[in-house]
């Protein structure tokens, strides 16, 4: 079965004032993928993510999101919506809600409105109980069942980020966006959370085996190459370093996608052996992060070819 697309970015360009930041970004993400986005600091990763969330629309180009329960339909992003979840590095949680309330918050906002909660209070209470129960289940899934009644200020950074992931997941978003979600965490905590994401990827694989729609599609920004290769099944490099002169620009036109390849797939319990992708890491360093490199922008976009080869290799079900 062909994987349907979850996100399509077409000809997206953006800038601040006269300063160009993103140039003609093209990207297509398939349902069930964990795509890691890497790039030099300041190249526009967060800007791209904001364009996808819809809080800051791009100057040019469109972002199309494909969402739905069984049948995916696409719509062009014009603002933030409930089909895209976001986990920020900071301020991920509402400080005035406990962990479980934070997770249930989306259910409340999505399924009820203020007048319902005020004027149909008894009914709302019943509904609320269901929400909290469901939220507790999600907390359990990220391993925080016991922290349900803690406020964000009472939790560690790692716990907060897990709650934030649960908070986003409960909405069953078509696309989960994460902007350096583990950037502020220590190594051990980071590793745990990476395993958690890998666990979610396993759920995708299980669904695919059953011929169902994969539940989680993630687009994760990170400045850690190892993390990108370890967590993602595909790594996309965004960079302002490419041969824009050859392409006919007098001034640097901004960052664009210069790297797009599949990445090794790990299972949560596998030993974390980063040496196996040392070569790929060096390649990314050279293509994406090296200010002196000037490769044609299409040169390292191998992902779709690789996917083709992989499908041919796979026996038809």
């Amino acid at each position: 079965m062909d994987q349907p697309a979850s996100l399509a970015i077409d000809c997206l360009s953006h800038g601040f004032g006269t300063k160009p930041v993103l140039h003609d970004v093209q990207l297509r993400i398939l349902r069930g993928q964990i795509v890691a986005l890497v790039g030099p600091s300041g190249c526009g990763k967060s800007t791209l993510l904001r364009a996808i969330v819809g809080t800051h629309l791009p100057r040019q180009g469109t972002v199309t999101v494909f969402s739905g329960n069984s049948h995916l339909t696409g719509h062009v992003v014009e603002g933030p919506g409930r089909d895209r979840g976001i986990v920020y590095q900071h301020y991920s949680l509402f400080p005035f809600l406990t962990a479980v309330e934070n997770v249930a918050f989306g259910l409340m906002l999505d399924q009820t409105n203020i007048s319902y909660r005020l004027f149909k209070f008894p009914r709302w209470l019943k509904r609320r109980a269901e929400h909290l129960k469901q939220a507790r289940e999600f907390l359990d899934r990220v391993g925080l069942g016991s922290a349900a009644s803690l406020y964000p200020s009472e939790m560690s950074g790692g716990m907060c980020q897990r709650v934030a992931v649960a908070q986003a997941l409960i909405m069953k978003p078509a696309l989960l966006l994460l902007d350096e979600p583990f950037g502020a965490l220590d190594e051990a905590m980071r590793e745990e959370l990476q395993r958690m994401l890998l666990g979610l990827y396993q759920e995708n694989l299980a669904a695919r085996r059953k011929g169902e729609l994969e539940p989680h599609t993630m687009f994760i920004v990170t400045h850690e190459l190892n993390e990108a290769l370890y967590v993602g099944d595909r790594v996309v490099g965004l960079s302002q370093y490419w041969d824009w002169r050859q392409a006919g620009h007098a001034q640097p036109p901004g960052a664009t996608v210069v790297y797009d390849c599949s990445a090794p797939i790990f299972e949560p319990d596998d030993t974390r052996d980063f040496s196996c992708f040392a070569g790929q890491r060096e390649e990314i360093r050279d293509v994406v992060f090296n200010p002196d490199s000037a490769y044609p922008r299409e040169k390292h976009l191998r992902y779709w070819q690789e996917l083709e080869q992989q499908r041919e290799a796979e026996p038809a079900p």
């Binding site: 603002g79 406990t98 989306g106 906002l109 409105n113 200020s153 909405m171």
Partner: protein, 267 residues
């Protein structure tokens, strides 16, 4: 060493000690004054004070009321309604300013300016604009506390990280829900803090106004009894006023802990 904590026993002992010291100092002062003039009423002795207290709490022959009860009722009602309208107005204005840039641009300059004027200086203006009845007290307190509170609300709204708003939108919030379920929740504890700080000034305006135009209330009684040199009534009234303010502050702290438990936990 600076900043060293002390044992709880010491806390309590020192606290009681300070109060005792105050009482002793007063007793000495009063005794000295009475040695000079046995009939003195300005620094009443303890027995004179108890007379004064009796006078304040007993049913008065002429008015058929207990002074403290009548005054406390009048003053607290005025204060309540004044603060109530002040808070309601400031929430509305502060929220609008925090949410809409054009309201912000329109209202910020006058508000910042008004917040700097001590309303006591506006007393005369309020007499002229709001009359001298009960509405005057309410208007005065409301307008007195409004600029500062509105600024507090506005700044608190501005302080809410944009990420939280975006996040709420991705969770399916409507604009109204952003205000009601995100911004308001954020603002409430800070607003209560600000109210706690504004109760003092509000009392100042109220007492000052009652001194001038009141016919019942703490300010009225204190001025009248002061003119009659009945300091034995004035001092207990001042103590009651202190307790009154203390009680309000305590109640507000409890309210804050109730509506915003997260805030106390070191947000």
């Amino acid at each position: 060493m600076i900043g060293e904590p002390i044992a709880r026993v010491w806390h309590v002992t020192l606290g009681i000690g300070a109060v005792l010291l105050l009482l002793i100092a007063y007793t000495i002062l009063s005794m000295r004054q009475h040695r000079e003039n046995p009939d003195d009423k300005t620094i009443p002795s303890w027995s004179q004070l108890s007379e004064g207290v009796k006078k304040s709490v007993e049913v008065n022959q002429r008015s058929n009321e207990r002074w403290v009860v009548a005054d406390a009722q009048a003053t607290s009602l005025r204060l309540f309604w004044g603060v109530f309208w002040g808070v309601s107005g400031s929430l509305l204005i502060g929220m609008l300013m925090g949410c809409f840039a054009f309201v912000e641009a329109f209202l910020y300059p006058p508000l910042a300016f008004l917040a700097k004027i001590p309303p006591i200086a506006l007393l005369a203006v309020f007499f002229v604009l709001a009359g001298t009845g009960e509405t005057m007290y309410v208007t005065m307190i409301a307008f007195g506390v409004l600029p500062t509170l509105a600024q507090t609300v506005y700044l608190a709204v501005k302080e809410v990280p944009a990420e939280l708003r975006y996040k709420a939108y991705t969770l399916g919030a409507s604009h109204l829900e952003i205000i009601w379920n995100v911004l308001l929740r954020h603002v409430l504890p800070k607003l209560i803090d600000a109210i706690r700080l504004q109760i003092g000034p509000a009392m100042v305006y109220l007492i000052a106004a009652e001194m001038v135009v009141g016919d019942v209330g703490f300010g009225y009684r204190i001025r009248l009894q002061f003119k009659l040199l009945n300091m034995s009534v004035v001092y207990p009234y001042i103590v009651v006023l202190g307790a009154f303010g203390f009680g309000i502050d305590y109640a507000l702290r409890k309210l804050q802990a109730f509506v915003s438990p997260w805030y106390a936990k070191g947000y």
